[in-house]
């Protein structure tokens, strides 16, 4: 975009000077001349320069010279105005910022081009550059390029946790539902004669989001959740036949049947994985059953350090 310079030249008597030479220089230089023109009979001169920068204009009329400095950035100690009007270069839009009371915490709201959208910026109390507090009432702000997040965090819904992008690009999601729980001690006589036991996961390794309690996962939002439970059983005999492990969720259940015998002693389910569609506040538990025994003499195994019976849950999408 070209920079436009223009002005009038008058002599000390106020008469327009015709034919004065007008030279454009880089700021604080005397050569080379970037552009030149002469004033007309009205004293008017104009230079259009294609390159952005900071310039001086020198006007020469005979032995008289005068230099005028032109900057594309102006620095002042103070500007006092009741209305600040902002136009684009093409003059196709204009909006006014009207002075209003600025709160003690120095929050000033600036209207954006769409009338109801507000950009709130908070300078620091010492007047130094502050922070962008919020873009209020703009439900779908758009960026023209990449968003450089200096703190590597995107917080959502007014919270302080969110998506953290490490310097190497690894992503943590501190609020994303994610659970690992296990059974820390044997639960005796849970099944064997077909009883369907709700599996006890009494110890949580982590429960990101606080969605797990009483052996139950409760979906915080509607989404697709990955369940990967596994159950180890012991105490059975060679009479045991079939078993199943089931993810019992509100909308649907998924049950995998397996051959439990005739080894007796230790057995268990294969570790299964399934993505379950859950609605907000839906719940899910894991149940386990073995058949073939004369009574429910089979224990669901647990250990304090070695995970034998566990459940992990993660919100995928």
């Amino acid at each position: 975009m070209a920079i436009e310079f223009a002005g009038f030249v008058y002599n000390s008597s106020g008469v327009a000077v015709n034919g004065a030479t007008v030279n454009l220089y880089d700021r604080n230089t005397t050569s080379p001349v970037r552009a030149t023109t002469t004033s007309n009979s009205s004293g008017y001169w104009a230079i259009s320069h294609a390159t952005q920068g900071r310039f001086d204009v020198e006007i020469v009329n005979g032995s008289a010279k005068r230099r005028i400095k032109y900057d594309d950035a102006v620095q002042m100690l103070e500007v006092e105005t009741s209305i600040m009007a902002i136009r684009n270069p093409a003059n196709t839009f204009k909006y006014d910022i009207t002075g209003a009371a600025i709160l003690a915490d120095r929050i000033l709201t600036l209207p954006l081009t769409a009338g109801t959208k507000i950009l709130a910026v908070s300078p620091n109390s010492d007047g130094s550059v502050g922070t962008l507090d919020s873009v209020v009432e703009d439900t779908s702000p758009q960026l023209g390029g990449a968003l450089d997040i200096q703190t590597h965090a995107i917080a959502g819904n007014g919270g302080t946790v969110g998506i953290k992008i490490d310097s190497v690009g690894a992503v943590n999601m501190a609020g994303q539902p994610c659970v690992l729980a296990f059974n820390s001690a044997d639960d005796a006589n849970q099944t064997g004669n077909g009883a369907e036991a709700t599996v006890d996961f009494d110890t949580e390794v982590f429960d990101q989001g606080g969605d797990f309690a009483s052996d139950t996962f409760t979906a915080p939002i509607t989404g697709r959740y990955l369940f990967t439970p596994a159950v180890t059983a012991k105490g059975g005999t060679s009479s045991q036949t079939l078993g199943f492990i089931k993810v019992a969720a509100s909308n649907r259940s998924a049950r995998l049947t397996f051959d439990a015998g005739p080894n007796g002693g230790a057995s268990g389910s294969p570790a299964i994985g399934i993505i379950v569609d859950m609605d907000t506040s839906d719940t899910a538990t894991i149940t386990f059953s073995v058949s073939g025994e004369a009574s429910d003499l089979i224990d669901i195994a647990g250990d304090g350090s070695l995970l034998q019976t566990w459940l992990s849950v993660q919100l995928l999408a």
């Binding site: 989001g209 606080g210 309690a213 009483s214 979906a219 509100s250 609605d279 506040s281 538990t285």
Partner: protein, 230 residues
């Protein structure tokens, strides 16, 4: 119909846990049931539309959700034995037997699935040593259409409600503990961390800086209103 016509008894601490994460527990629980009913309606329609569209006895699909649901609920096994329909699955065409409508409980009974009472059992077994408060004292009113949609997808509405409630109580409790356990430990005026979760919750809410969710939201709203428009 009215669910829990005399309300749901919870402890004061449980109510405080709810208030840590939701603005209005009664409204949240009521809305949750309505939202779930809407989700179930959408699931039923999505699940049944391919079969209904393939049914030669149905010349055109009803124009409203209400009429579509009525048609779904009217599907019986008597008609099902007369014909099959084809469904494209993963690029292949499979011949599907037409089935009549069943509630989730009816369906589960046919395949030997048990009716889960886990949520209610756990909730009833919860030890509550302090006085209780009544949540939704006049119950949760839902329409018959909502109940029908719910029972098409879930086994039992009460079981679902208690599961949702217990889950949110737990979420509030865990968030409160995560947030305030370091605060209490760092506070020299707190000599001992409370032994029980109930005591911990009361210790948190008694702190001067603590705000419930409705208090936090009110403060945010007040701050927004204080910003001067230009």
């Amino acid at each position: 119909m009215i669910l829990f016509p005399t309300g749901i008894q919870i402890s004061t601490a449980e109510k405080l846990c709810l208030l840590h994460v939701v603005e209005n527990p009664e409204q949240w629980l009521t809305n949750s049931v309505h939202d779930k009913a809407m989700a179930c309606k959408a699931r039923l329609i999505a699940q049944w539309t391919p079969q209904l569209e393939a049914d030669p006895n149905i010349p055109s699909m009803p124009g409203t959700e209400q009429a579509t649901l009525a048609l779904i609920f009217a599907q019986t096994d008597a008609k099902a034995r007369k014909w099959t329909w084809e469904r494209k699955v993963g690029g292949r065409t499979r011949t599907m037997p037409k089935t009549g409508y069943r509630t989730r409980v009816q369906h589960d009974a046919e395949i030997g699935e048990r009716l889960s009472t886990h949520n209610r059992d756990k909730f009833a077994a919860q030890e509550r040593s302090e006085s209780s408060v009544t949540l939704v004292p006049r119950g949760i009113k839902i329409s018959k259409a909502e109940a029908d949609c719910l029972l098409g997808i879930i086994q039992d509405i009460d079981e679902w409600v208690i599961g949702a409630l217990a889950g949110m109580v737990n979420r509030g409790k865990k968030q409160m503990i995560t947030q305030y356990l370091p605060v209490l430990k760092a506070d020299p005026s707190v000599k001992t961390t409370p032994d029980t979760e109930e005591d911990f919750i009361h210790a948190v809410v008694e702190r001067t800086e603590y705000q419930t969710m409705p208090q936090q939201l009110a403060a945010i709203q007040a701050a927004r209103e204080a910003v001067v428009d230009v």
